[in-house]
Amino acid sequence: MNALITLSVLAILVLYLGLYKAKNALLPVTLIGLAAALALSILEWNSGAAPIYSGMMLFDNFAVAFTSICIISTMLILLISKDYFEHISEHVAEYYTIILFALIGILVMVSFHNLSMLFIGIEIMSVSLYILAGIRKHDFKSNEAALKYFLMGAFSTGFLLLGIAFLYGASGSFDLTAIKEYVIANPTGISPLFYSGVTLMIIGLSFKIGAAPFHFWTPDVYEGSPTLITAFMSTVVKTAGFAAFLRLFMVCFAPLHDFWMPVLLVISVLTLFIGNVTALYQHSFKRMLAFSSISHAGYMLFAIVALGPLSGNSVFVYASAYSIASIIAFAVLILVKRQTGSDNFESFNGLARKNPFIAFTLTVAMLSLAGIPLTAGFIGKFMMFSTALSEYHIIMVVLAVVNAVIGIFYYLKVIVSMYFKSAERNEVQSSPYFNFVLGFSALLTIIVGVYPGFISNLF
């Protein structure tokens, strides 16, 4: 749990650095701190964790794995934030600090062992994100995003809190183990209050992960927020949301599978179709990514619908593959938008001729998101399909295949623009930081795609 403490100290340290105008030290200090937190969390791998802080948190392998991928994604995003934040605001230190605070919330979310900690984690993360979404305070769209996000977030928190209260009312405890024991001890006589609680939790968490029909805030918030914040929200935050979702259902609600499974099944299929079909009609690359992130949430929900021993690992691999590919996509988007001022598909025309490296990495990312073999995305989809088929959700998987095919249309669109459409353009200016992040992420995507053995059997 040292990672959590390290991050908290780091966040305050960065804030003080900002106070003393040590602008150049911000990024290195943050990165070193994150690397330390990463190392500390990995050290707790397989340490036979028991609940700590009076049973509030449990830093087991599940938590270690999700913490690590969230920290790595954050590091990659921060690496490309060099001279990005300076462009959009004077308060650079606050950026780093708030992102770190959000990360602290995420750590709590993935390692909670008590419903109150789940709530606290989600709130720490959400409040930070409300600020981040609106940090371009003179930009109308950014303000709109922040307001929408805040209203929707507050609304969904209400559901969540009421759900937690109901669960407490029925079981008499916030503790996950106690709730689990309550469910197992009363196979027939579970109070209706408990079922209402589960339903409200599903609604609240679906809001947070942007699953349909609770997804309406996502496109506007993703589009209005600064691109790097969007990257952070659609990768790290989404991963954490799923980890929390999965943890809760795996530990507490697994015996009630028959009750919530149909609900989640409908949610996941709806999410897939709404995300995919809407993404198909987008002209803006950024908006397309927003809607495609909705559809990826649908795929990840499969693991929860078909809850089984494979679920945790499936979500982990899928979320990692998706996060890394999305980071590439957003990084290239930042570069292209900086040059052309537009985030439409047309602004990618002819990119392959002038910047073959950038075009190649974006191609790898798109193929990964589309789930083409030899990329990490394929392994993720493959594991999802395996998980769902092992529980005999055949119709659901067939619908997922239909969606995978729809997805190919819009992911290929940007490849087509880059390689097959020519346009008069200058070389996009990149920096070593960007090149490192792009190259590293693309390499990771391919390595996981070719040899997934090292992350596909963690827990």
Binding site: S386, L389, V401, V405, F409, L412, F420, Y451, S456
Partner: protein, 487 residues
């Protein structure tokens, strides 16, 4: 060092080397690497014992926790397809030397990347590996067709890509489903063969696999992507697609579809056969009405592949052996056909048959080569096509005489539309654009010489090829028939 690993991965290494090599040596490197692959295949062929066993077996743990192995091997059926792939790639590479390709590094790298995928498909004994190879072969050819293709390439290739991916995802579902049914959760083909699923389930499995393979071949009514894609693709792309890639579908039917779902095959095999026969007649008639030389060859390819597929679904020795040798023949012939079409199109700047005519006069050598390839395609005795189509028709005949009668139309119709094309292109009056037609130059001569020799040699002496696959084919037949008869 496992020789089969070399065979599979040398093209991949070649692709990487070519990608970073200097512009001046790209063509030389490409030619050399394609010959290295061919030499390894020759070595494999010489050390191959034509019995029913799987040889040169490679079995490495790949993703052990899912039961996925890198397991590949060569039996008689795979051997024919290795020969096909590694014989055609050098010819295709050589034929591309004439073309003015920009960004050659990427072009040849993609060809070799695809070759690796094809070789994985043809040797894989693990379903996951097979699927990976299947997709790995698709992505490079998509880029080849979309980067160097004609005007409508973007739209046409999107259709092609989506069609094939949709088919293969269904196959992936079937593979995962079968995997979950095996006792030890394995992807090994031997475990798949041992499964005893009920016939309804096998019916679903049959369709999931069949649609994937039918799209690739293509079998009517899954063929609609094919004529456009062949027409818009650069000639090299068309050769790769028609010469080698569609054999992935045929091979899949023989290796995976029928042995894995024998009861599904028993229930639906005849439907598939009828679809294939419809495709033969349908494509032949459309070919007859074409005025675009590339489209005509594309439709004729659908007709010929339809016959191969019908021969397989007849499921007897003649049909299967015919399919094996005809896969090789069709590859050689269709590459020759598209090469000749490309020569003509490049010199006349048109694909329209009505603007051609009388080319035989200024270009006698081309006329002879064209005639040989054409006769091979229409299956004249003593050419390679004859052996294959004769066996195939005999196979269908043994299954049902009426299907054979209808499928036999392919020979007549094929002769009609092919000779009509020859007449329109080569014979008749010379017009202003064809009078100055240049005859074959050095590279073109050597490509067509190799192809002509192969056509005649296999036509006169097909036995070595038939010997390779015979034992494996009989073994497979027995294995499936036992399962069908027991039920």
């Amino acid at each position: 060092m496992e020789i089969l690993l070399l065979q599979i991965f040398i093209p991949l290494i070649a692709a990487l080397i070519i990608l970073v090599s200097g512009k001046t040596i790209v063509r030389g490197l490409a030619g050399a690497f394609s010959l290295v692959s061919l030499l390894i295949t020759v070595y494999l062929y010489l050390n191959f014992t034509p019995d029913a066993t799987t040889q040169f077996l490679v079995d490495l743990a790949w993703i052990p926790q899912f039961g996925i192995h890198f397991k590949a091997g060569v039996d008689g059926i795979s051997m024919v397809l290795l020969l096909l792939t590694n014989l055609l790639i050098p010819i295709i590479v050589l034929s591309s030397f004439k073309q003015d390709v920009k960004d050659q590094n990427a072009f040849y790298a993609l060809i070799f990347f695809m070759q690796s995928g094809l070789l994985i498909v043809f040797t894989a004994l693990d379903a996951f590996l097979f699927y990976i190879g299947w997709e790995v072969a698709l992505i490079p050819v998509y880029f080849i067709c979309a980067l160097w293709g004609g005007e409508n390439r973007i739209k046409v290739n999107l259709k092609f890509f989506v069609y094939t991916i949709a088919g293969s995802l269904l196959m992936l579902l079937a593979i995962i489903y079968l995997h979950l049914q095996t006792p030890g959760n394995s992807y090994d083909i031997a475990e798949f063969y041992k499964l005893e699923l009920d016939s309804v389930t096998q019916g679903w499995i049959f369709w999931a696999f069949f649609i994937a393979f039918a799209i690739k071949m293509p079998v009517f009514p899954f063929h609609t992507w094919q004529p456009d894609t062949y027409t818009e693709a650069p000639t090299t792309g068309t050769m790769l697609l028609a010469g080698i890639m569609l054999k992935m579908g045929i091979y899949g039917v023989i290796r995976w579809l029928i042995p894995v779902a024998p009861l599904g095959f028993q229930a639906w095999g005849e439907t598939a056969l009828i679809l294939s026969v419809i495709g033969v007649v349908y494509a032949s008639i459309i070919a007859f009405t074409q005025n675009d030389i590339k489209r005509l060859i594309a439709y004729s390819s659908i007709a010929h592949v339809g016959l191969i597929s019908a021969g397989i679904f007849a499921w007897n020795v003649q049909g299967l052996q015919g399919a094996m040798i005809q896969m090789l023949n069709h590859g050689i012939n269709v590459v020759g056909m598209f090469f000749i079409a490309d020569i003509i199109i490049r010199r006349l700047n048109t694909r329209d048959l009505s603007l051609m005519g009388g080319i035989a006069k200024p270009a006698p050598m081309l006329a002879i080569a064209f005639l040989i390839v054409l006769l091979g395609t229409v299956a004249l005795p003593l050419t390679n096509g004859f052996v294959g189509e004769f066996l195939l028709l005999m196979g269908v005949y043994n299954f049902n005489i009426w299907y054979a009668a209808i499928a036999g139309l392919t020979i007549i119709l094929g002769a009609v539309y092919m000779l009509r094309m020859y007449q329109k292109v080569m014979l008749g009056q010379v017009n202003t654009s064809t009078s100055a037609f240049l005859d074959l130059d050095g590279t073109e001569k050597s490509v067509l010489l190799i192809i002509s020799v192969l056509i005649i040699f296999i036509g006169v002496y097909p036995q070595p090829i038939l010997n390779i696959s015979e034992a494996a084919v009989i073994n497979l037949l027995d294995q499936v028939n036992q399962k069908i008869l027991v039920k």
